[in-house]
Amino acid sequence: MAPFVVLDDVHVSYPSPGPGLEAPRILRGVSLSVAEGECLALLGPTGAGKSTLCLCLNGLIPHLVDGTFRGGVHIAGHSTREWTPGELSQTVGLVFQDAESQFVSMTVEDEVAFGLESLGLPPDEIEGRLAEALEVMEVGGLRSRSPLELSGGQKQRVALAAVMAMRPRVLVLDEPTTNLDPVGKAALLRAVSRLRVAWGTTIVWVTQDVDWVPHLADRVAVLWEGQIALEGGLREVFDQGALLRRMGLRVPQVRELAARFGSTGLGGYAWLGVDEAAEALRGRLGG
């Protein structure tokens, strides 16, 4: 499939934090592409530049954030330099780790309708999109509640509903599951899967939760010291366990287990999920 999101040799530096201090160079030549409808998981250690990369995708860099920007970011064939962040927000939706920082309204309903109203849509279309987004995100029962009094998982799903109601063709998730318990994580990822099916949304998903990556991602890229150090299919990337550990990252735990079996010649496994591992290991025990 044709690339839908393309980063071409992107360099980003922020202004110097003080006199005599060097300007931090965050991205140092990132080239990456994501096909339409694909979900790319972006991994990387703390400080690798993942959040900066997200800001490049929705145009906040270079339009609103101070610093220097070189290279090109293209979404659906258009350079982000050509579009204003307002125009880009209709194509690229961004959900942050801290959903609360995104909220501006007193009720869930108003929060989700806010962006739609700013597009000047007719009231019945606003209501239609609002109801649909709330339903897909399983927060329909929370319409009149304040977003601030919801649980962490509910807040993230409301933030996602507000972004999805805009029907962006690209969704950028910046560590959305970090603050969530396992049930909240599972519900959010279920919701993201549903919207991929419903709208064929292209997804860039920044995460540290490697055990959850196989649930959603088609491909993985690893950002390290401002550059893409690894990129490929899940098995291919997670096969580089030693390299990933040197970068401060880990692989899914069942993949670690597969490597442990491989290290003693007991099997050349490359499991990503528990069910897959259970089937293979059960077989050897005669089950």
Binding site: G18, T46, E175, V274, G286
Partner: protein, 279 residues
């Protein structure tokens, strides 16, 4: 019998007289143990932690630290015994430089000038923060801001440490670095109460687990025993680490269902295989 570092006796706490966060919770945490506190978002974990350091006072029940009721003691006095790390580093950091941030706690606890300076210097060194000492914490990245808050906590040397989601947002290597430092504290007899959603971390590091559900203590016990009970964990919306889950799926084929780590699983499986194949 080991000394009791933290004891909660029939504690209840309600926010604004409406939201009941904890109901009748009784528990004891032995000195020198590493206890993981797990449960769904909103289950009362942070409330319980704040009762232990006096930031919140139970409306019913008692909290004892090292055997003494803390009811009438100011938070500053409890802090000498109980150090607390907030979930969000930005809720904790307020000083204009890293140096002052770390010095603040020391000054508050009344360390005299010379000892304060010495503790400050050794903490900056131990946490690789000397190069950042005069920088404003706000311009540092998340990982370093977290490092500053942990350094502030460690500088005070409180023998009981309560950490609320300390590894959240950190990559694996940074998490391991932080956990290794905590392990060193446990090795010298300090007590650790660690709130987390990361069950791999619980399995690898903790001695005991407390499971909270809707403000009540659902279970408490050794890690292996608690993690081997999937139905109990599911009630609290907690899931065991992948290898523990895998060993549970293989129970009908002879696995015990309580593997905590990759190595644990591997050794049990290989022994089982050898038995089956008569090797």
């Amino acid at each position: 019998m080991a000394e009791c570092a933290i004891e909660l006796e029939k504690c209840s706490y309600t926010y604004d007289g409406q939201v009941r966060a904890l109901r009748n919770v009784s528990c004891t945490i032995e000195a020198g143990s590493w206890v993981a506190l797990v449960g769904q978002n909103g289950s009362g974990k942070s409330t319980l932690a704040k009762l232990c350091n006096g930031l919140l006072r139970p409306q019913e029940g008692r909290v004892r630290i090292n055997g003494a009721d803390i009811r009438d003691r100011p938070v500053g006095s409890v802090a000498r015994e109980v150090g607390y790390l907030f979930q969000n580093p930005d809720h904790q950091i307020f000083a204009p430089t890293v140096r002052e941030e770390i010095a603040f706690g020391l000054r508050n606890l009344g360390f005299p000038g010379e000892e304060r300076e010495q503790r400050l210097r050794s903490t900056l060194e131990a946490f690789d923060l000397t190069a950042y000492a005069d920088r404003p914490p706000a311009v540092l990245g998340f990982g370093l801001r977290r490092q500053v808050t942990v350094a502030s906590l460690f500088a005070c040397g409180s023998p009981i440490l309560i950490l609320d989601e300390a590894t959240q947002g950190l990559d694996w290597q940074r998490s391991q670095g932080l956990l290794d430092r905590l392990q060193e504290r446990q090795d010298v007899g300090h007590t650790i109460l660690f709130i987390t959603h990361d069950m791999r971390l619980v399995a690898e590091r903790a001695n005991r687990v407390m499971v909270l559900h809707q403000g009540e203590l659902l279970a408490e016990g050794p890690v292996r025993k608690i993690l081997s009970r999937p139905h109990l964990l599911a009630r609290a919306s907690v899931s065991p680490p992948p290898v523990t889950h895998l060993s549970q799926l293989l129970r009908p084929w002879g696995m015990k269902g309580d593997s905590l780590t990759v190595e644990d699983f591997y050794l049990e499986y290989v022994a089982l295989l050898a038995e089956r194949e008569g090797v």
